[in-house]
């Protein structure tokens, strides 16, 4: 195994040709990768179960309650209001389930892929974010790792920072994700997400306006 900086925070002013390459101690072997893929598949199944199970049943209750409410005579406005209240509570429960599903594995990432999911997230970030991501689908593990690596990083940005570019493109057997305009110290969180798949992370540039590049092997 090649020696590396073993996860130390990268020095800020390293020249581009000797950019630090972050890897974890004891780099992931083939077995770890399989476990990592299995982990992402589990997350995906869990998220889908939330949708296909509890959520579908709860949403089906809502129109049925509406039918019941419609049978209640006008003379009983109390019951009418209680049913409306019940329906509001069901909506709240569904919203909470959706939030949980989003944290486990975003449904939009599952259904539509990395580009739409990252664009949706970019809407919530307090600095301008440009997203340039290929439409190609890469499987639950690679898409999941790339999504959580990028969003973990974007989520740590503070208002008033420089505009950020997120570019993800396939280069041979790797997905190369480049974040420009971000503090290189956030590379540690990026590495946490991608190292299980055998991914590597490099950084360069200014402490507040640098570049993080992650390379994730794809099948």
């Amino acid at each position: 195994m090649p020696a590396s900086t073993e996860g130390d925070p990268p020095a800020a002013d390293v020249p581009a040709d000797t950019t630090p390459c972050l890897r974890t101690p004891g780099t992931a072997g083939a077995g770890d990768c399989r476990a990592e893929h299995e982990q992402w598949q589990r997350r995906l199944r869990l998220q889908r179960r939330l949708h296909d199970g509890a959520s579908l049943r709860i949403s089906a209750l809502v129109p049925q309650l509406g039918v019941v409410r419609n049978r209640v005579p006008e003379a009983r406005p109390d019951l009418d209001a209680s049913i409306e209240e019940l329906q509001d509570q069901l909506h709240t429960v569904l919203q909470e389930l959706r939030e949980i599903a989003r944290v486990i594995y975003p449904p939009l990432l599952d259904l539509a892929g990395l580009a739409p999911a990252l664009k949706e997230f970019a809407d919530r970030v307090p600095v301008p974010v440009r997203v340039e991501v290929a439409e190609e689908r890469l499987g639950a593990a690679v898409e999941g790792a790339a999504y959580f690596a990028v969003t973990g990083c974007l989520g740590d940005l503070r208002p008033g920072g420089p505009p950020v570019d997120v570019v993800a493109r396939r280069a041979g057997a790797e997905l190369v994700v480049t974040l420009t305009g971000v503090p290189p110290r956030l590379a540690v969180g990026v590495l946490d997400q991608v190292h299980g798949l055998g991914g590597q992370v490099r950084t360069s540039g200014d402490p507040e306006d640098g570049t993080i590049e992650a390379r994730i092997p794809c099948a």
Partner: protein, 221 residues
Amino acid sequence: MRVALAEDGALFREGLLMLLRAAGHEVVGCTADGDALVELLTRQPADVAILDIRMPPEPDGGLVTAERLRAAHPGMGLLFLSHYAESHYLMRILEIGTEAIGYRLKEKVGSVDVLTDTLDRIADGEIVIEPVLAKRLVERPRGDRKEIVDSLTPRELDVLKLMAEGRSNNGIAGQLFVTPKAVEKHIANIFSKLGLQEEGSEHHRRVLAVLTYLRSQRAES
């Protein structure tokens, strides 16, 4: 009203069917996938088609089905019901059409009144957008197009948000406790700030205002 329905979840489909009938609507067809609905509607007229977004043909059969229905029956209203209120899907829906079209969460059309109000507004040619989503779009501006938002006053933002929900001027006036005249003035200001010229119908400019706004939220990269 004559309504057709395609939804692959049997539980929700049966519940919605009962609610539609309780509301006095005529359900002319009810299928578990989009292709069957397209086939059925070649023989049966309907005023509004209700579509689940995530159904066969996979992955988002509701959208491809809607494109085919809009091409074959331009006058038919389309109501998307989904488990998710995402701006990604809203943009794709607005690409299919900006009139007589709606996008709502499944559990938010759970009463005869709301369901009928939603269907009536779509049949009248309006856009109906789930309030949760409209609110999120207006309140979470993208940084790079923030100047559009910044140039609007808080009251103009309130008006634009209600426009994005497909409300009429009177509806907006009622919500904000102001006169319809005041609403018209706010809308004129919004049109001017968004750079919408005085051509085309008021409705068309409303749609464009909402679209310009929504697009500014998701600047094409």
